[in-house]
């Protein structure tokens, strides 16, 4: 009689372990996928803010054509880029073009006093922050997921049900160079 109880308990414990372990892995993997889409959402948000910014700056600094065209072209490239590496590259180029645009705006005091421009500056700064936070959150999610599938005993379940390691989001090589500021 006692032996039967022991066996039942063991079976229940193993069953619980599989159930909770598997669900935990599913939750974390979905978290990673969701975090990846979040990055896209924030990137698009930045794309949508740019046309308004370009128009506002044009109103005061019409002859800075080179800078506007760079921003507009970079934005188009970023929207059309395919695949994570190409996208990341294009977004970095866009960030650089925006930095140049804001640097140029520094020379126009009327523009800097324009409330619309100030609002857009705040919105774009926070858009950049959100992109950074979304990438940070993605990396945190990947870390949590990768750690869980490597730790014992979940590593056993991960192997059985083909949960695979994910890659972190890496800043593109250009990002780690110090930006050149020219006056």
């Amino acid at each position: 009689m006692a032996a039967v109880i022991v066996i039942v308990v063991i079976v229940v414990v193993i069953g619980l372990f599989f159930w909770l372990g598997f669900n935990g892995l599913v939750k974390r993997r979905n978290q990673v996928d969701n975090a990846w889409s979040q990055i896209d959402v924030q990137l698009k948000r930045r794309h949508d803010l740019i046309p308004n910014l370009v128009e506002t700056v044009k109103g005061y600094a019409a002859h800075e054509r080179g800078t506007f065209e760079a921003v507009t072209a970079a934005r188009a490239n970023a929207i059309n880029a395919q695949g994570p590496e190409a996208q990341a590259q294009a977004e970095n180029v866009l960030s650089g073009a925006l930095k140049s645009l804001f640097a140029v705006a520094e020379a126009y005091p009327d523009l800097k006093a324009n409330q619309n421009f100030l609002n857009l500056q705040e919105e774009l700064t926070s858009a950049e922050d959100r992109i950074a936070y979304a990438r940070q959150f993605f990396n945190d999610a990947v870390l949590s997921y990768n750690t869980k599938i490597q730790q014992f005993p979940t590593v056993l379940i991960a192997g059985m049900f083909h949960f695979e390691k994910r890659a972190f989001f890496d800043a593109a090589p250009e990002d780690t160079e110090t930006p050149q500021v020219q006056f």
Partner: protein
């Protein structure tokens, strides 16, 4: 950073364990003194729990009303909203309701029973005096309170204190008003050991509420350190919060609509404190928040 977070969480667990020990001591004292009284103990616990958890469930609304906070308009407080939204992305939290308190003293608090029902409030003074990264550091600290379920932890502590206080109060009243005179221990005689036990039990009943209060203050300070560390983990930028705390250190103003009851939630002690009072090390035991210098030092060590 990770070690600090882990250490603070361990300390919280130990403190909660401490509360359990204290409650057990008090219950034991009652049983030793009166040879029973379990019904009373359970009733005390239920009352304390009812009071504490009533306020916990509605903590977001109560705290906002008590401090006369008004909802923060999205257009007028664009930066405030933007910063919180960014941090919520980093933390994976839903966005709390945002409020503003019209007060020149720089301060902020967070409340709510869980992330879905949370609220954050800042004073107009804070918005004026802090720059972008400092404000972000403060908001990250507040969001960490939400993320770490600090309102829940505090409510558990308050329930424990309430139970201890009720049991001790009633127990002492019974003891001094005649519950002891007819007491005999199991062997039917009330010898010297019986007297010692009685005195020890009375001592426990008298000191327990005070000990519990000190423990609650210690836990509050511990959770503040944890919120600092968690906040910095969100922003990955300790200098922001450090700079904000340094500004708070130099600003001696007091928040008008804060009381002893709500003091715990604010980012720094909202009530009047005098650092030059004699015996200040002893007085620190009663603070809900650790001294700003110590918080700054811990952040600089990360």
């Amino acid at each position: 950073m990770q070690e600090q977070i882990a250490r603070n969480k361990r300390r919280t667990f130990l403190m909660l364990l401490g509360f359990v020990v204290l409650i057990t001591l008090v219950a034991t004292a009652i049983v030793l003194l009166f040879g029973g009284g379990w019904v009373g103990i359970v009733i005390a616990f239920v009352i304390a729990m009812g009071l504490a958890w009533g306020s916990y469930y509605n903590s977001d609304k109560i705290a906002i009303k008590a401090s006369r906070a008004v909802p923060a308009d999205e257009t007028e407080y664009r930066r405030y909203h933007n910063l919180v939204e960014g941090l919520c992305i980093a933390a994976g939290l839903p966005k709390p309701k945002l409020f503003v308190v019209n007060d020149p003293a720089p301060n902020a608090f967070a409340t709510g029973r869980n992330p879905k029902h949370s609220a954050v409030a800042v004073t107009t003074g804070l918005l004026e005096k802090m720059n972008r990264v400092e404000l972000e550091g403060v908001l990250a600290h507040e969001l960490s309170h939400v993320k770490n379920y600090d309102i829940l932890v505090t409510t558990v502590a308050v329930t424990a204190i309430g139970t201890i206080a009720l049991i001790s109060d009633i127990g002492l009243r019974f003891a001094f008003w005649g519950g002891l005179s007819g007491r005999r221990d199991n062997n039917g005689d009330s010898g010297p050991i019986g007297v010692v036990i009685a005195i020890a039990s009375l001592a426990v009943l008298m000191l327990a509420p005070f000990a519990g209060y000190l423990m609650q203050m210690a836990m509050s300070r511990n959770r503040e350190y944890l919120a600092d560390a968690s906040g910095v983990q969100l922003t990955r930028y300790p200098p922001g919060l450090i700079s904000a705390l340094e500004k708070l250190k130099d600003d001696k103003a007091v928040v008008h609509n804060a009381t002893k009851a709500t003091a715990q939630m604010w980012i720094e002690e909202p009530l009047e404190t005098n650092p030059d009072k004699p015996g200040s090390k002893f007085n620190n035991l009663f603070d809900t928040h650790p001294p700003l210098e110590d918080r700054i030092k811990r952040l600089q060590e990360m």
